[in-house]
Subunit: 536 residues, 2 copies
């Protein structure tokens, strides 16, 4: 029994992302990628055509001096051109650094500096923002304007950078380049998390991690995405790989529909109906806008079979309206940038019908509940714990940092609190850092928020800790009432009694006309704590 006899004999086949578009072009060449605009669809291409254009874009990137390992900056809404940038870059080993245009220029400049971006591609309406960035970003040499029909645009007028119109760049320098041929552990993407405090942290995805994430996501019990689907990608591509769908779409031959910047209910409803969308993905607020619009207009979206929600807690009322008003199944999910982002999903074929449950992890994502010291809970079903994750599409350390972001056993601490029910459904119950310590005992704001948030007349809710001379901290309830709604303090407290321990009842109730939101759209608890957290 020599060693040679026992070596595996399978092909060394690198898991690189260029294969997704190759696969789509070959087996689903006519399946389309569609981009919405103000007057309806503004761009439409089959995967075979998109592959040809992306390969020419690789040549154009090379002509601008980008080589394997370099970072391309992309600050753009979801569109065909944005997707071509991704594949044109990763096909020749360039790393795609996605930037969220809603962040503050100073934050964006820090990210661009840390990534060393020489080339930045932007949507036409973001040229002014790019012009603001240029003086802050000495590394920038080229700005590519991803023109869209119907959207006015100019080239950047500031000095120090060369401006390019996308199609002209393709025409002038679009010499097709061969793709692939590099290691699957090469970096493919860079995305900074938008923490509300402190420096943003970058996650450097690899070809391997994104390839495997795609296979995780394509499992029937995960997204269940299929070549017969038309998918509306209403999650921005600068949010954690657009949840991975610009990869899994071509990987299975699904038609993709990009809404560009038009995410209002009317625009989405028209796109869904015009393109016969079967599945849609995005954050709850986007879908709230759609349902409100349909309620107001009496419209219908009969082709829509299911919606995958993620990114923040799902109101049960939204889930119910979706299923009852639209007849569409809701797939809840949980993920984060550090997970590429898929953590858990509920399958379309066995919906959970509970908005607080985020489903189970697919093969390839491993979860563990621990106590505050990182020790695994002896009972993983029932009790609340800190949620840790392991897997090939989970971060090991942040971009540019030497220290690992995982513990000795390889677990990444999500910072989330969670419980797992008997069936393995995960519910996120809060953030570890939001916990309130009162008299030496922990209060989880998430549990209180879930109860209050389910009441009629509540638009937004947050519970924060307020400093207290005796107890250390005491919980404060902050609400934004719904339009025209009024709800008495006593009614709020009554809703909590019996549901939580009596010492969890908030010491004060604050009403705000508008909840302060962080740039990500999530409630800005840091600001709430600053403004309302001092001892009364």
């Amino acid at each position: 029994m020599t060693t040679a006899l026992h070596a595996g004999t399978m092909q060394p086949y690198a898991l690189t992302l260029d294969q997704f578009i190759d696969h789509a072009a070959k087996w689903h060449g006519a399946a389309e990628v569609v981009t919405g605009g103000i007057g309806g669809v503004t761009a439409r291409v089959g995967y075979a055509g998109l592959r040809d254009r992306a390969k020419r874009l690789s040549g154009a990137f090379r002509a601008l001096g980008l080589a394997a390992g370099d970072n391309l900056g992309v600050m753009a809404w979801n569109s065909q051109a944005h997707m071509e940038c991704w594949y044109g870059a990763v096909g020749i080993g360039i790393v795609c650094h996605t930037l969220n245009p809603r962040l503050a220029p100073a934050h964006l400049a820090t990210m661009i500096a840390r990534a060393g971006n020489r080339v930045l591609a932007v949507s036409p309406d973001l040229v002014a923002l790019a012009e603001q960035l240029v003086p802050l970003c000495p590394s920038l040499a080229h700005i590519i304007v991803l023109d869209e029909p119907g959207v006015a645009s100019v080239l950047p007028a500031c000095g120090g950078v060369t401006g390019w119109r996308y199609e002209e760049l393709l025409d002038r320098h679009g010499a097709e380049l061969p793709w692939g041929g590099f290691d699957e552990n090469a970096p493919a993407g860079l995305c900074f998390t938008s923490g509300t405090t402190g420096m943003p942290k970058g996650v450097s995805y690899t070809h391997r991690s994104n390839y495997l994430h795609t296979l995780h996501q394509l499992q029937t019990d995960a997204s269940g995405l299929s070549g017969r689907d038309t998918l509306l990608v209403a999650v921005p591509m600068f949010h954690a790989n657009g949840w991975g769908f610009p990869f899994s779409g071509p990987a299975c031959g699904a038609k993709l529909v990009f809404p560009s910047r038009y995410q209002d209910g009317a625009s989405l409803a028209r796109l869904i109906n015009d393109e016969r969308v079967t599945m849609a993905v995005g954050v709850p607020t986007v879908w709230l806008g759609l349902v409100d619009h349909l309620d107001a207009t009496g419209g219908e979206v009969p082709s829509l079979e299911r919606v995958m929600l993620g990114g923040s807690a799902v109101p049960q009322a939204l889930m119910d309206r979706f299923e009852q008003r639209l007849g569409a199944i809701v797939q809840t999910s949980w993920g984060m940038t550090e997970l590429s982002p898929l953590g858990t999903t509920t399958p379309a074929n066995v919906p959970v019908r509970s908005a607080t449950k985020s489903g189970r992890p697919p093969l390839g994502v491993d979860l563990l509940l621990t106590d505050a010291e990182g020790v695994a809970l002896p009972e993983q079903r029932g009790p609340e714990g800190r949620l840790k994750v392991r897997g090939a599409s989970v971060v090991e350390r942040y971009f540019g940092e030497d220290a690992p972001a995982v513990d000795a056993a390889g677990w990444f601490d999500t910072g989330d609190l969670a419980v797992i029910d008997r069936d393995g459904n995960v519910s996120i119950t809060g953030r570890a850092k939001d916990l309130i310590k009162s008299g030496g005992e922990w209060i989880n704001p998430g549990e209180i928020e879930a109860i209050i948030g389910a009441l009629p007349g509540i638009a937004q809710v947050a519970v924060i800790g307020r400093a207290h001379p005796k107890w250390g901290e005491r919980p404060i309830l902050v609400i934004e009432p719904g339009k025209g709604a009024a709800i008495a303090d006593e009614a709020l407290l009554e809703a909590l009694r019996g549901q939580v321990a009596s010492w969890w009842l908030p010491d004060a109730i604050v009403r705000l006309a508008a909840m302060p939101l962080a740039l990500t759209g999530k409630i800005d608890k840091a600001r709430l704590r600053a403004e309302h957290g001092a001892a009364a």
Copy 2:
């Protein structure tokens, strides 16, 4: 822009097969693995229980002297114990060498010698065969009898080996061992192809290749297997990893039903109904037996939603009977041992309803049609070509051989002829080595066989070349008429006229009471050529 900045930062997470059972035990611990027997189900265990037993089995294998890299021989019908052997072995890096008990003892002995098996696990009714093998296999030291309730068994009586009863071995030596911790490129499985001529060739699967094959297979458009499915695995586990389903079952939490050796229609119908099977996989002949049984008894299998057929050409009549008689969707597929085995499938949600079409490849399997010299056909849609394959679950070279089994560009030649339609559906049209050269031009027996095979009254059909002094070879039609059926020569020729070129019409028609079959159940064309291929 230093190199350090651009290294990916994702977790190094080895793709090893032990994770499938870990995942199943953790997230689908109560989902069952069920084994059928003569009087009904004889064994039943949840994935959590199966994992515990398999980990103890790892300890028992270690006690018998097996270590990482060694090959465990398993010659067994599909059962819980067989599956425990797989995971007990691969969990600690032992390679699982599956053996087909229907092969000739001399062939089996060669395989055992080449694998260097010291330990052989066998089903209880295969002890006699094992006893035949012992004197032929000097490497064998231990025989484990995988006892099944209701099946009489004895320990091997021959000298030279130690016999073990499975449960006693577990009781005596079943000390749980930790799993994993090795490289994903470590070998995990060994399967010899059962070529009808020449030496069998071995394929040495790796953890990585089988892990990725599982993810290929779990795509919605491939098997579409889901945690809500109950899957009847009627393809033997010694045939190309049981088509990979003993891996993808636990990987998604599907309940698995193993029929053991009882693959007759009555046994399968009972298992399907008793266990509420939703999906079944196996070769066409097995399902022909089921449909015949249900026709004869008037039985129904209402829980059965779909059947995946593969392994040989699917008769259209069988497909139609399945869909009409049973209301079950037929998923056609094509694969081979060298592909782990998945090549193409038709998705359950868009059935093709054509038995000759085998569907499209999933992401991860790449196909190419070439001419006889290996040059890619300029047009990949329409014309017939030789089918080549690339991918992470495709063989690079055969076990123990230094020469690659792939060409310079990494393509493995399947030996099959195929056409691909406009939609990307692959149809296997024949075997390259079965082609007949008449007057310098090629005749494809597969096309003639497809036409004749679709006629009523034809049970089996084969077309072979007969030596001819003028033309080199001429086609000869060999048929096995259906029970009680008679069909005139002229009717056979008439069916071909207009469908194939006139010079493709067979020179002679031979009727056999029983078509000679190779050990795999496929028609033995080598024997037909030997007996009927000499010049008339």
